[in-house]
Symmetry: C2
Subunit: 542 residues, 2 copies
């Protein structure tokens, strides 16, 4: 027996329809790539998105065609997204920070037919366009006055291009499982893998993410997504903000502390979201200028673990609540947020900061478990860690063209590649990447926990822990240290410092001092390179 | 091209799974029908719901079977709902306030096989059971000690019945469009019509309803649904509260002011929902006792238009925010809520009360329009009214067994039977029932607006407006008045009072004085009876 409710497919463009009708005048403010601040609203954005859709269709783009965007967060970028997905084509966000070879590889893998690109990146695209044979047209997100000289064939100014048509157009209707968007995730090994979002997954994800315990977005909020739309589905802000009529303040290319602060302050932003690096720059700006954040109520911090000092500065100096978030490109991206449940409502000081350092708890629609090597569930005691696996309607079932199938098990759980524990109230904390965790005599040792402890020693500037082969225990931890300038601690001093703070069998078997630890472009420790560096090392006496 | 996201059907029991895992210890407190306050939590409720499911399956209940409940809001009633829907059977809520003949008709129409019933209603069921041949078993929601003497064959105490099995059971998986629940809507004419909710519609509805601009439910809230689960799908609280881990405080049979206040106060309820009558009783209790509402943050008022005096008393005397809500059994039920958008954030005093008297704006997933008799869209100017039509994934596409098909048009819009206007910011206000609106010379006159004006006259206790046949204009308004005791105004005095406050052609053609205006059981004016009473009336001079 089926229910007798209406067929009403969950389609992304219905979100913009809702915003235009019920929150039509709500401001969407952008720092334009050309320079000036540009103001529009949801009603106007919908009209222009319809124009984009009509124009794309006239150019022969339709259901399932991939259309790339390489652009900052602006109103025009939003119009491009909705115009693309509103005819069943697929927005494919390109990260301009990748190496050109990766961008070429990704565009060829996706077979992008059109590209919307910001002025900033025209040179980048000129250099690679002839290596992407599928690319038919490049729409530069500007007007005629700002069109650059370009070697690109078939390049056109966005404003000219849409001016050739009008807004008299109806969105297409199709199955809600139709692809809406694509974003490639660049693993540390192998080629990037394409994640393909559906209309259904984007809509459900946005509905889950606006809840009071998650982004807590209302029509009275003004959200500044500093996180770019090309990063992990733009953290869903392109859908969650219009869904509830929350105003949007788009920072364009201005990611420095001063530019961010200017918009936060002039547009009276109430909530904002970005990676820790952005917040570090903002805090440095505030310290230098003495500026404050009177309107800002909360910052969402994700992308990598948030340093405690950032949380503390926001909360104690500026009166802004920090909410740690965790997600993955494969999760649309929201996995969990560290909002405070009633069981922890009375925490303060260090205990509250300890809690806020966790990745938090998921909304309904995200299932989680931690498992051991035998894929058995582990207890939620806040200390037993295992592989973190997730399941839900906005979580990848597979990658584009079937790549990376080892991350999916038969039951549809997605293996995040993280190692984590979950506490009795459902707060998850990541303790390591699965590929970094050390397996000693069948038990796991968290390298991140050891590193965090080691940097507490006054002479230590940076610490990394890697597993080294051991004839008896399989692997044992080696602690690699960069000392602070002018400091010269002994191995024993370091080990003595750790002793008593961790289980005896977690104690590193040796300490190695180095001048530098290798990092990725985003500042994370590059453990693969470090392991390579120590590949001929063996523990004393083995 | 389809997205590559997980198949994860939207099933109601996943909501309870989420609550049990991530908010397992959150309290669900009930005033039991036996008397004492009973405390449990989501983890325990899920366990016992699994027990119900396993026991039902053992008794031969399965996919598509209708299982009725006639019960107050308690933890046991929740366990019954989830136990029923978790095996793909259909919870069918019965309203004990209906006439016995209606209950018999409804149970036979639904062909209910089992019934969960509270002690309060055993006598009612004993009197009708032999007229419902499909009914195989009656589970009385109590334990052995409280089992009454009963003439019911196959009656069993809930606790004994589930004790025969355990919690080692897995929910069934099925298509998300599978029927989950049923609720009959009793129109003023004809037989009741069955609304059939699907798992998908219930889940989407709950996701839409917890948003900050709607119920605004978080894990830190404690919600008391005074509105019974048998009224319009229980306003979705059985799904929206566990979805976000909001605590629940269930009033059981104690609907009087003192009982409600006791729970509000002892359980520190933050949000509660009911029809205006309940709030009137509470306010009277507070006035009498001098009690206050220190923990309560907001009351959701729906079911019928909320008198201004109630809103004022809550907000001004007790510091509790009032949120007007509108919905229908056919809408799962949420249609709109009157939360404040930024455009109206600076309103205060009478202007704010005027806004709060509106039915409000819908969440994403509810589409609205107002149309004229030719089904053409009318402008959103806050004054042009027409038939209110709605569309969405949690709105009826048809009634059980295809009844009432005239309410559904070809485009899937559901005709609410209400007449309303919508303002430029998307606030909807109901001005009449479609069957009551007066059509004068092709134009519509709102009877509710005239009535609201007329009761502003100091001598008028109650007013009703009905359309009377007119040879030239088709219909013209007749104003029917009940005077306050000892008052005796003239027709002209009443008409003079209205003059200038409404368009000239809206002015009633006559005033009739009566001792009493007929009401429905729930206190609404029974216009059908009033029209019957005046069926031989004709305007002077026609």
């Amino acid at each position: 027996m089926l229910g007798l409710m209406q067929e009403w497919p969950l389609l992304c463009h219905k979100i913009l329809d809702h915003a235009a009708l019920f929150h039509g005048g709500r401001a969407v403010v952008s720092r334009s790539v050309e320079g000036p601040i540009h103001r529009t609203d949801y009603r106007a954005i919908r009209g222009r998105a319809l124009q984009v859709a009509k124009r794309l269709e006239k150019d022969g783009i339709g259901l399932g065609d991939r259309v790339a965007t390489m652009a900052w967060n602006t109103g025009r970028h939003l119009e491009a997204w909705y115009g693309i997905l509103g005819i069943g084509a697929v927005y494919h966000t390109l990260n301009p920070r990748l190496f050109s070879e990766q961008i070429i590889w990704i565009m060829n893998d996706a077979e992008d037919r059109f590209l919307f690109v910001d002025l900033t990146f025209v040179g980048l695209i000129e250099a690679i366009a002839d290596k992407v044979p599928s690319l038919e047209k490049v729409i530069i997100l500007t007007d005629r006055d700002h069109m650059p000289q370009t070697t690109l064939a078939n390049a056109v100014a966005f404003e000219d291009w849409i001016a050739e048509t009008d807004q008299d157009f109806a969105w297409k209707e199709f199955d809600e499982r139709t692809a809406a968007g694509m974003c490639y995730t660049s693993g540390t090994t192998g080629n990037p893998k394409g994640v393909v979002y559906s209309h259904r997954s984007n809509v459900l994800h946005a509905m889950a993410s606006v809840q009071p315990d998650m982004l807590n977005l209302s029509s009275r909020d003004r959200m500044m997504p500093v996180v770019p739309l090309f990063h992990a589905n733009g953290w869903s802000t392109a859908f969650s903000c219009p869904m509830v009529g929350c105003g949007m303040v788009m920072p364009g290319a201005g990611m420095d502390g001063a530019s961010i602060h200017q918009l936060l302050s002039e547009e009276r932003v109430t909530v904002t979201a970005a990676v820790p690096t952005v917040w570090l720059m903002l805090l440095q700006h505030l310290e230098k200028t003495g500026d404050t954040l009177p309107d800002l109520e909360r910052v969402i911090i994700g992308g990598s673990a948030c340093p405690r000092s950032i949380t503390q500065a926001f909360q104690e100096t500026y009166g802004v609540e920090v909410i740690h978030a965790w997600g993955m490109t494969e999760m649309s991206p929201l996995g969990s947020m560290c909002t405070i449940k009633p069981e922890y409502q009375d925490l303060s000081g260090e205990a509250k900061l300890d809690l806020q350092a966790k990745q938090g708890h998921p909304p309904f629609t995200v299932e989680m478990k931690v498992t051991n090597d035998e894929n058995e569930d582990l207890p939620w005691d806040g200390k037993t860690f295992g592989r973190l696996k997730v399941r839900g309607p906005a979580i990848s079932a597979s990658y584009y063209k079937g790549r990376g199938s080892e991350q999916f098990d038969g039951e549809d759980w997605f293996d995040t590649g993280d190692v984590a524990h979950i506490d009795p109230h459902g707060y998850m904390e990541i303790t390591d990447r699965a590929k970094d965790v050390i397996k000693s005599g069948g038990e796991w040792i968290s390298t991140i926990e050891l590193e965090n402890l080691a940097v507490g020693h006054e002479d230590v500037a940076e610490a990394a822990v890697i597993g080294i082969h051991h004839p008896k225990w399989d692997e044992r931890p080696l602690l690699v240290i960069v000392c602070k300038e002018g400091c010269n601690p002994s191995k024993d001093a370091i080990l003595d410092f750790l002793r008593g703070k961790v289980a005896k069998w977690w104690m590193p078997d040796d300490v190695a001092f180095v001048d530098e630890i290798p990092h990725t472009a985003t500042g994370k420790i590059q453990k693969m390179d470090l392991r390579e560096q120590f590949k001929d090392y063996s523990f004393p006496g083995t």
